[in-house]
Structure formats: C-alpha cells, structure tokens
C-alpha cells in the first residue's frame, strides 16, 4: 500500500476502494478529509531557499553507521523521541515537534541551474517555457491588502546566484525585491526609501504635481492595456510608498532587541524576522534566498562555522515565533535547497558534491503535522528506501496547503495551456 500513502490518483483511489471491500481500511485518507477543511485557511507562505544545495546527510538525515561517509558531525536529541539531528542544529532540534521533516525527496537534476529552477517552481526546466516562482503564483492567487506588495523577495545572506523569475506569468507578477541587509543599522529598501530620505509630504506634493501635468494622453484609447496598466501600477506604487503598514513592516528596528537577538543578528535571521513582519502586514509570499551551501570543499568546517548556525537559529526562531503568534495556522514555511549532497566525501578538501537522488526538506504550518519525520533513505543516505517524492510533489503540497489547486491551468503569453505544477500530487503524509 505504499502507493496510497503517496499520491492518490483517481484510478488508484478506485482500486483502493475495491480493496476496502476486502477489509482494508483507509485511516490515512479519512484523516486527510478532515484535514482538508482546515487547509483552506492557508493564506501566506514563507519559502526559504538554501541555494547551492544543503547537505542532507549532515543535517536532517544523519547516518551514524555509514562508515567513512558518515562525516564529522555527531547528533543530538530532538523534541521527537528517537529522532536525532546534527549537533550543530541545537535550536531547530528543540522545535522539531512543530514541523515535518521530509527525507525521501529524490530527483535527477544534479546541476545548479536546472535544479534550482526545478525546486523554485515545482516543474522540471524545459527550454521552451519558463515556469513562475512560487511567489508569483501565490501572489496571483491570493490578493494582498491595498498597498502591500503580495510577493516579496529578501536576500537571506550568503553568496547566491539563483535566478528568480515570474516566468510565463510576466513581470507584473514579479517580486518586490527588498534589496539591502535588514541586519544593517540604517536598513533601507530600494525604491521604498531614498537616500536623501524624502518625506511623505514631498512624495505627496510630487504626486499632486504629476496628476496635474500628466494630461496629454487624456484622449487616448482606454483599451490600451499598456497604458491603463501603467496607471494602475503607479496607483499601487504610491499606495505602497504611502502605506504606513509597508514602511512599518520594513522598520525592523521596531522589534524588541531581545526578539531580534533570538532570530540572530545576521542577514538570514533578520530576513526571517522581516518575513514575519511582512506576512503580518499582508504579504502573501515572502521568499528568502540563503546562499553558500555548495560545499564542494570544507563541507564540515563551513557548515559548522558559517552556514548552520545562522540558519539553525533563524529558522527555529521563525517557526517558534509564528507558532506563538498563531500565524502558523495559515502560514506555511517551507525550507529546501535544490538538491542534497554526495554521501561520499570528496578528495578536493573534505567536501561533498551535488546529489539529487536524495535530499531533505522541512515544512511547517497550515495544518502540516509537527514532529512528523517522513521517509527514509538507505544506509548511506544515497537513495530513499521508502517511496520517493519528487520536487513536483513537494511543490504541489505547498500550493495545496495554501488552498491553491496545483493543477490549475494558466495560459502562457503565447497561449499555451500549462498547469501550475505539471506532474506533482500533494503529499498526503504531510497532513497525516
């Protein structure tokens, strides 16, 4: 019955239905029915992308018996009895009861660019079509309050080369890119605040002037979408600029110093905190790109010294904070890289290379059960031994949590019909 736990197509559901007549019950599926009601509450998303590819075997999927592939790290207990994680993840270890760890994701895109687009969109990269990032889809499906950018992209620290793209949905669904480091003392956001610090009064005065002189096209064709669309974009831009809630959301120094410390005073930690503030303001999807995980060399020292500590602290604080505020009920947090890393430790200097056949990811919120450790890999974390899930399934689950039908059909600019996620099916185990 591995299949029923995985993805239930209509046909297999009928087959299962037939099996039920033979005395087999389907508790998992029934639980899912109950869970689905609460899922429709999902409104917000925080997508944390660990670009470069986080080592699964050194974090969520430790293999103490893997001999020389085991690596250098020991393990610590978590809040889930029997489940141990890397010793350098003390903060996350204490929060495992609030999220699901999915360890049986497997795919075949072992290079950064195709792997990243795959994990950023839930669709395998093809030359003739650029799929949209999650945020672009979420922003299109869930309206944000007036004056709030529906999709924001935050730089989460580390060197990072992952492209973002709203793909066939077009630039209109692109992210509000909040450039700059929220950990900086005088943090400001590109285009939101100007260096000279223009005041709202000045802006309003300019806006008034603009409305008085922008009259030449008064007689123009009202059906010209470029023209009317630009008008709307200006309205929204002024709404954002003049919205106190957006400015407030970005005023990260309004947070108590204690809480800022809790997230970690670094780019990633403060981006996580900022993500929470934006979600509170009404942003529907915040993506944080955290780079540097491409540990071909010095895998262990880099993980231990620079990569794991801020990520561990920031992500743990985010999940705990969202939980405490009740925001986890309608906010999904999803953290993944583009692939895992080779169990074999290379000769280039204690590094691990790209490995897509097994990887781990983390989900929290929107009814996803806490403390759930899904899937297993073999002795060396090389391949799932349980039924593998694909990035397509992972993405379909993400959309499903947000009440978005992953098979909903859009039309590309040249009229091709295309589903949000072409091949994936939500992973029912996340809610069971």
């Amino acid at each position: 019955m591995a299949r029923s736990a995985r993805s239930v197509t209509r046909r297999s559901a009928m087959q299962i239905g037939a099996l039920r007549g033979l005395g087999l019950s389907l508790p998992g599926m029934l639980r899912l029915d109950a869970a689905e009601d609460s899922l429709t509450k999902g409104r917000n998303a925080i997508f944390i992308f660990l670009t470069g590819g986080q080592s699964h075997i050194d974090t969520w999927d430790l293999k103490p018996d893997a001999g020389e592939m085991k690596g250098e790290f020991g393990s610590i207990e978590t809040t889930v009895p029997g489940y141990r994680v890397c010793e350098h993840m003390p903060f996350l270890a204490k929060q495992v009861d609030k999220f699901t760890v999915l360890r049986s994701v497997s795919h075949s895109q072992g290079a950064h660019s195709p792997g990243q687009r795959y994990l950023q969109t839930g669709n395998r990269k093809i030359p003739s079509l650029e799929y949209p990032d999650y945020g672009a889809v979420v922003a299109r499906e869930h309206q944000a309050p007036k004056g709030i950018p529906p999709y924001a992209l935050l730089p989460g620290g580390g060197s990072n080369s992952a492209p973002y793209s709203s793909g066939y949905l077009g630039v209109a669904h692109g992210p509000f890119t909040a450039l700059g480091d929220p950990n900086n003392k005088d943090y400001s956001v590109r285009a939101l605040t100007t260096p000279e610090g223009s005041t709202l009064e000045e802006l309003e005065s300019r806006r008034r002037l603009l409305s008085r002189v922008d009259t030449a096209f008064a007689g123009a064709d009202v059906r010209n979408a470029e023209l009317t669309g630009m008008d709307r974009s200006y309205e929204q831009a002024f709404e954002i600029l003049q919205s106190t809630s957006v400015r407030k959301a970005f005023q990260i120094d309004a947070e108590p110093a204690e809480l800022r410390e809790k997230y970690g005073r670094n780019t990633f930690g403060q981006s996580c905190l900022l993500a929470r503030r934006l979600v509170e303001a009404g942003t529907r999807c915040v993506s944080i790109y955290n780079g540097g995980w491409d540990t071909h060399q010095n895998n262990f020292s880099d993980l231990k010294n620079t990569l794991l500590p801020p990520w561990d602290q920031g992500l743990a604080a985010l999940i705990a904070d969202l939980h405490d505020r009740g925001l986890l009920e309608n906010t999904i947090v999803w953290c993944t890289g583009e692939f895992g890393r080779t169990p074999k430790i290379n000769d280039m200097g204690a590094g691990r290379d790209h490995w897509a056949r097994a990887m781990s990811m983390v989900y929290a919120g929107c009814g996803i059960r806490g403390g759930n450790i899904i899937g297993e890999t073999d002795r060396t974390a090389s391949e799932p031994t349980t039924d593998p899930y694909s990035p397509d399934d992972a993405a379909a689950s993400f959309y499903h949590a947000l009440g978005i039908d992953p098979h909903r059909e859009y039309h590309t600019r040249d009229g091709r019909p295309v589903m949000i996620v072409q091949n994936g099916t939500p992973i029912s185990e996340l809610w069971s």
Partner: protein, 818 residues
C-alpha cells in the same frame, strides 16, 4: 479525498470550447502550418469531375442506416468535434481514465488500435468496441452517458453522430490508411464574411476535396473557433454572429486540414465620407483599402513633434535632443520628414538599436560561453557591421544559416584571426576591434545554440528567419502526427550535418570542444561530409529532401536558397512583418513570430506587397524601413477618432507603446544628463543601454541589471519574440517614482538640471528646456503655469525644479512612444 479538487469535472460546452481555443492558440498550429503544404497538395486538375457527396449528418441520420463511414474522414473528425481527443480529455498524453486518443486525431492508426484494445483497467466495464454487438461498445455507451462518463454526455443515442460511430463498429472497426480516401484540399466558403449593418448570423461551410475525386461538405465534422469572440462568435455548426466592430478570423479544423475566413464587422456608417487620405506610398493604399471596408476612418497626420519623437525612438532608440527638436520644428521644408528618416537611418545608433533587436531575434544569449559578455559583444558588433553596410537581408541570413569558421580559408589564416579576436577581447576593454565583425559569417550563432540542444537549432532558426514556432514537436514527448514529426526531424538533420572541429588538429567533434573563447584552442564550425544521417535524411520544411555527398557542397546552402526563393511563404514576410511590428506595436501577422494557418494576417495584401517589394529591391533593409516610415500610415497621429478608437489591428492610428527597457534607461540618462555606467568601453562606444550586448544577469540584485529586468529586457533564451515584455508592473512605477538611481540623477552636480539652473535665471526657460529634452515639445501655457506655480511654492528653486524634472520622467507621455 485530497485530490477531489483536481479531478476533472464533467466538461461544460464552454470549457470544451476553451479547449479548442487553447488548441487554436497553442503551438499545435505551428506544426500544422508546415504540415499543410505537404498534406494539401495543389488541387489536382484531374479532379475536374468531382463527385459531390451528401453531408454526413444526412447520410447517417436514420437509425436504420447501414452505410459504413470512413475512419479518418468521418470518425476521427467526429472525435474532435465532440471534444474526445482534446488535450484535457482523452487527447491528454496520459489519456483520461485509462483511455487515450491521439491529440486532435493526428494519428488515426493509433486511435484505431487503442479502440480495439481493451486493457485490464477497463475490463470491468466491457470492451471499448464490441464487434458482435456494436451498441454494447464502451465507446458508444460512455459518451451517450449510458455508462457513467466523467466527460458528461457528448451525444445522444438517437443522433447521427451516434449512428456514424455505431456503423463504423458494425463495419468491423477498420482503418487502413491506404484504403481510405485522403484529404487533398480543405477550404471555407464564402472566403470572406462582411456583416454590413446587419445582426443576422451568417453561415460558413467547410468543403473538403479527397483524392478519390469526391468533394464533401464536412461542416458537421469540422471544429470551428474564432480568433476574437468579441467581434465574431462561431457556433459548433459554423454559424457566425457579429459582435463588436472590427475584424477577425474564423478558423476551421478538419482531419488535419486548417482553413480560415476573414470576418469584417464594419463600423455603422452614418453617411460620413471617408476623410481625405493622401497616399504617401502603396502601404497607404492597402491600409486605406481595409479601413474603407471596415468603415474605420484613419486619424489625422501626426504633428511634427509627435512624428519627430516617434521616429527617433523607433529608428535609433534615442530621444531627440532639445536642439534637434527646435531645429526640426522650425524647419519649413515640406520634405523634412523624409529627410529626417534618411538621416536617422544613417546614424550609428540605427545599427546599434536594430543590432539589439536582431540580437533578440537570433538569441544572442548567455549560452554562448562561460564568459558570455565578451562574446555577446562580438556578436552584436558583427550584426552592427552588416546593418551599417546595409548588407542585403538574404546575405545577412546566409551569415547565420551557412556559417563556417574557416570561411574557405586555410586553418592557419583562421587561427590567426581567432587569436586576434581572443587577444582583443581579453584586453583592456574586453572589446574586439572589429576583426570578427568583418567576417562574412557568424559562427557564434551555431556555437550558441550548440551549447543548448540540437532542437534549439531548429527552433531558433525557424523562429528567427521564418517566423515559425515549432516548439510543439519539442516539448510534447509524443508526436502529434507522423508528417510533422518527420518534417521536424528532417529539418533537424540539416543542422546535424554540421560538426565542430578543432582547427589546430583538424579533429572533428560531434559537439563543440571546450568553449570557444574559453580555451586557447578554438573550435570551428564545419559541415561534416560523413554520411551520419541514415534514418532521417535532411529535408527542408515542407520541401525537398536534400542530397549531399562527401566533399560536395554544403547542404545548408540549399536550405538558404530555399529560404530566399521568391516563392518561400515565410522568409521575406516574416522579417517584413517583424520590422512592421516594431514600428506599430502590432504585426500584420500578430504575434509577429507566429506564422501559421490559424493566425492569418490582418491585411494579406499589405503583407504580400511589402514582402515582394522587399524582395524586388534585393532584400534591402533600409529600403524597407524607408517604405514603412515614409508611409502616411506610420505618420498618423496617436489621437483616435470615434470610428477608430477601438481598432487595434488595422493601423488606423498610432498605438501608444511603452519604450523598450533599454531605450527608457537611455532616455532617463539623456534627459537628466547623467550617463549610466555600463563598464569600461572604448572611446568610440557610448555608454548606451541599447548598445549593451549582454542580456541582463538574472536575479540581478545588482544595480545596473535591475531596471533592465523589471522593464522586460529579454534573456534571449526562449526563441520567442514574446520574451521581451512591455507589461507594466508596480516595480517599474516604484523605480521611476522613488528609486535612488533615478532620484540621484535629478540633482546630480554634473547633470542637466544643475547646469541649467546655473546658466538660466528665467524659470520659464528652464521649464521649456526640460520639456524639450524629455518630451520633445514646448510646454503648453497651462503646463508652464502649473510648473511655475509649483517651483514658486517649493522650498527652494532647486527642489522645485527637481520636482519638475521628476514629473517629466513620470508622465506617461515620457514613458510612451506617441
């Protein structure tokens, strides 16, 4: 159940129509476009004695009918008509509920096999086809909803459609391609529908000619769709109803044949006379001809300032300076527009700007090398050289299609050239001195696509030089139709004959040796003599199989000769149409790179004439530009009148278009007087965004790439003109309103405003200068007064004037080409 919301709901008629609509708009038609010339041979003269056959809906009306229909001629088209083989039904590659038909019925033999097969999944439901008792066939019980059918009831048991399907089963469920009649011609009657002052529906008939000498009215078996439901809606029976005024096309599909009919819904006439429309050249004749039919009146000729700004931006991607504007507005020469056009076409920015466009159209992307910037430059320079010398377009395309590295020279000569280029681009400016640009051919084109996939070569070449989108055959893992597949593969074989070689050793490689330019050893493009293509001989799209032999001539030359031949329906029309679309914001065929039978030109006579005129003038690009630019049509005002306000495809008035990303960035620099920094460049190369050869770096949290990206500069990776976007977005508005990059330019100490304020005490004069610089016109009295008031009330003259300049960068009149 978790999937409940994903299960396909029973299809409503509307969703079935949208299914055909997506088909119509989809890539499939591109396949059909070149399939058809093969399928639909010229009507055979021997068919003079045609036998007319009664329509299927009559022949199988009676339930007692015994006649057996043909599978390909009747049954499969009926599947399409009923929606069975659509993509979201059984035409899906996964099939639907275990039953799969070939998409749109392009593979009747597979369909017949599938029908005869009863797989174990449906065993509980009985056989799909029951030869002993036809009415018990699953494929009759399902669509009649006799059995539960997810797709709902598609037909009734007492219908002629049912009788057709039943009789096919009764006749043994046969299909043998050779024994059935073949479609040789398919067309709609009448050839044009005009809804003159009448809201009465009109009917179109679909006629099919077969190789057995019969002709049949197949309306009842034909699938109809409208390219614009708002203007003309078509019923399943081919009945057309007029809606809004304008024109569109009704598309019909039957058994692999595609036909269209133009539908005109004229603006109601109230006795108004068509306004005087002095013809500048023949372009205007064709445009006016269509406008008269539609009773749409063209707008007036544009004012000089509108024309000036439009021509500058469109021809050279550059705003006129304040001085140039003043000079032009004062000029009394009646020929000044024609003179300006000639001057603009001779400016270096012409080559730079159209070089950028050709870089878009030919895919000058990051794939070219691991260090793409230098090589993108080299590519751009090569194009600029050809455009500067106005190389005939067919020769220009030869440089792409028939590129070789050696160009007939010795290996040593080539290596000397390659070393020089390498030396230049590794130098101070990463900029070649023109060594490469002097080459006749652009081997970089091949290297660029080679780095991607062989299919990309086919897609890119078909799109770049023929205006075709062939993606369907690539992205669907199963062919729609064996002809199409064969054609695609045959076309691909032409490109596969070409191999790469290491010129130092002469060793041939199947693929490019390590990066051209990345290593000291450079790769050369050769064409290979070996007989590597056994299964699929190289074949021109819808044309001849190419012969080639060891040591013989390069078969790509035959491809090129086919392209530029006068009878080629794509080569000249596609470039003419692209350039037209660049000037009007909409093509005569639109999208401009999507030529197919389902997407007919809005003005076929105009396109034909432009293409032949272009050919007759030796593929002279500047002649083409001049013809378009000098037409009254191009020079019409953007101000609409009551009759043409909603027209957007007949060129009755100029369409307001946002400036492309690069032009806009340059315009901001020019108006503020603060150049952008695009890196170190040689003295003769201005800091211009339009001259930036490389597409923006994606995920450009860096500064210079950000505005390019948000304003829609393409990465040139999609082989589709649609990759360049003119869509507005909030990020664009935020950038223009409040980004530090823009704001800091307003008050830059070396900028225009600072200098003006120092040199000019008169606020009115300062404002006038700013209007001339930004909008290419003198401010109106109202505008002058509003701006003066604003400055007077501002904290300081400087801050007030900053606002004035800011407002001029944010009015729509600045952002749009008027």
């Amino acid at each position: 159940m978790i999937e409940s919301n994903m299960v396909t709901k029973p299809l409503s008629l509307a969703s079935r129509l949208s299914c055909t609509r997506s088909f119509r708009e989809g890539c499939v038609r591109a396949c059909i476009a070149f399939l058809l010339p093969i399928l639909l041979l010229p009507p055979d003269r021997s068919l003079a004695a045609e036998t007319a056959i009664a329509v299927a809906s009559d022949r199988w009306r009676d339930a007692k009918v015994t006649e057996t229909p043909e599978f390909r001629r009747h049954v499969v088209p009926l599947f399409s008509k009923l929606g069975c083989n659509m993509r979201n039904c059984h035409g899906s590659f996964q099939g639907q509920s275990g039953f799969r038909l070939s998409l749109f019925g392009f593979e009747p033999d597979l369909d017949q096999k599938e029908l005869l097969e009863t797989d174990e999944l449906s065993s509980g439901e009985g056989p799909r086809i029951n030869l002993k008792s036809p009415v018990d066939s699953l494929f009759l019980r399902k669509p009649t909803s006799t059995d539960d059918h997810e797709g709902g009831q598609r037909m009734k048991t007492d219908s002629w459609q049912y009788n057709v399907l039943r009789q096919w089963v009764a006749g043994g469920g046969q299909f043998e391609s050779a024994r059935e009649s073949k479609l040789v011609r398919f067309e709609l009657q009448p050839s044009e529908l005009v809804f003159a002052q009448s809201d009465k529906p009109q009917a179109v008939r679909a006629m099919a000619w077969f190789d057995d000498g019969t002709v049949e009215d197949v309306t009842c078996l034909t699938t109809f769709s409208s390219n614009d439901d708002g203007i003309a809606a078509v019923s399943v029976d081919g009945e057309v109803k007029a809606g809004l005024t304008g024109d569109t096309a009704i598309i019909a599909q039957y058994s692999g044949g595609v036909a269209s009919v133009q539908v005109l819904v004229p603006v109601p006439g109230d006795g108004e006379i068509f306004p005087p429309f002095p013809l500048h050249n023949r372009v205007d004749e064709f445009v006016a001809g269509k406008l008269r039919k539609l009773n749409i009146h063209p707008s007036n000729l544009s004012d000089d300032d509108d024309f000036l700004r439009r021509a500058y931006v469109d021809v050279i991607g550059t705003l006129p300076t304040a001085d140039e504007t003043r000079h032009f507005l004062r000029d009394r020469d009646p020929e000044k527009r024609a003179r300006l056009i000639d001057e603009l076409l001779d400016r270096p920015e012409y080559a730079m700007y159209w070089g950028m466009k050709f870089s878009d159209w030919t895919g000058n992307s990051k794939y070219i090398s691991r260090n793409p910037q230098q090589w993108n430059w080299v590519w751009q320079q090569w194009i600029e050289d050809k455009l500067t010398h106005n190389m005939p377009y067919d020769e220009f395309v030869y440089g792409f299609v028939c590129a070789t590295s050696l160009e007939g020279r010795s290996r040593e000569e080539f290596l000397a050239e390659a070393r020089q280029v390498k030396h230049n681009i590794s130098g101070r400016y990463n900029y070649d001195d023109g060594t490469y640009a002097k080459r006749r051919t652009l081997d970089l084109y091949w290297i660029n696509v080679e780095r991607r996939s062989p299919d990309t070569l086919v897609l890119q070449t078909a799109n770049s030089f023929l205006g075709l989108r062939l993606e369907c055959a690539q992205c669907h893992n199963h062919p729609f139709d064996r002809w199409t597949q064969k054609d695609f593969e045959g076309f691909k074989s032409i490109f596969m004959l070409t191999r790469f070689c290491d010129p130092k050793t002469g060793k041939e490689e199947k693929s490019l040796p390590r990066g051209y330019g990345d290593e000291d050893v450079q790769a050369g493009v050769l064409w290979r003599y070996a007989s590597i293509i056994k299964n699929t001989p190289p074949k021109i799209l819808g044309g001849d199989v190419l012969t080639y032999e060891e040591g013989g001539p390069d078969p790509r030359v035959a491809l090129w000769e086919w392209m530029r031949a006068p009878e080629n329906p794509y080569f000249a029309p596609s470039i003419v149409n692209r350039i037209w679309a660049a000037y009007f914001g909409v093509g005569i065929v639109d999208p401009p790179d999507d030529f197919n039978l389902g997407n007919p030109p809005s003005n076929p006579q105009l396109l034909d004439w432009l293409a032949s005129d272009f050919r007759e003038h030796g593929f002279d690009l500047k002649h083409l530009h001049r013809t378009i630019l000098n037409s009254r049509t191009y020079q019409l005002s953007w101000r609409p009148n009551d009759s043409n306000r909603i027209d957007n495809r007949n060129f009755s008035h100029a369409r307001l278009r946002r400036m492309p990303a690069e032009v806009l960035m340059d315009a901001i620099s020019q108006v503020t007087g603060v150049a952008a920094d695009y890196g170190r460049l040689p003295a003769d190369r201005p800091q211009r965004a339009i001259g930036q050869a490389s597409p923006p770096v994606r995920y450009s949290l860096n500064r210079s790439g950000y505005p390019m990206e948000i304003f829609g500069r393409p990465a040139r990776e999609k082989t589709c003109d649609c990759e360049r976007s003119n869509e507005p977005s909030v990020a664009q508005a935020l950038y223009l309103v409040n980004d530090a990059e823009v704001i800091s330019k307003l008050s830059d100490p070396k900028g225009r405003l600072t200098k003006l304020l120092q040199s000019t005490a008169d606020d009115g004069k300062v404002i006038e200068e700013l209007y001339l610089a930004a909008l290419s016109r003198i401010p109106t009295d109202d505008e002058r007064q509003i701006q003066m008031e604003h400055v007077a009330q501002a904290q300081s003259r400087e801050s007030g004037m900053r606002d004035v300049l800011w407002s001029l960068l944010n009015v729509r009149e600045f952002l749009f080409i008027r």
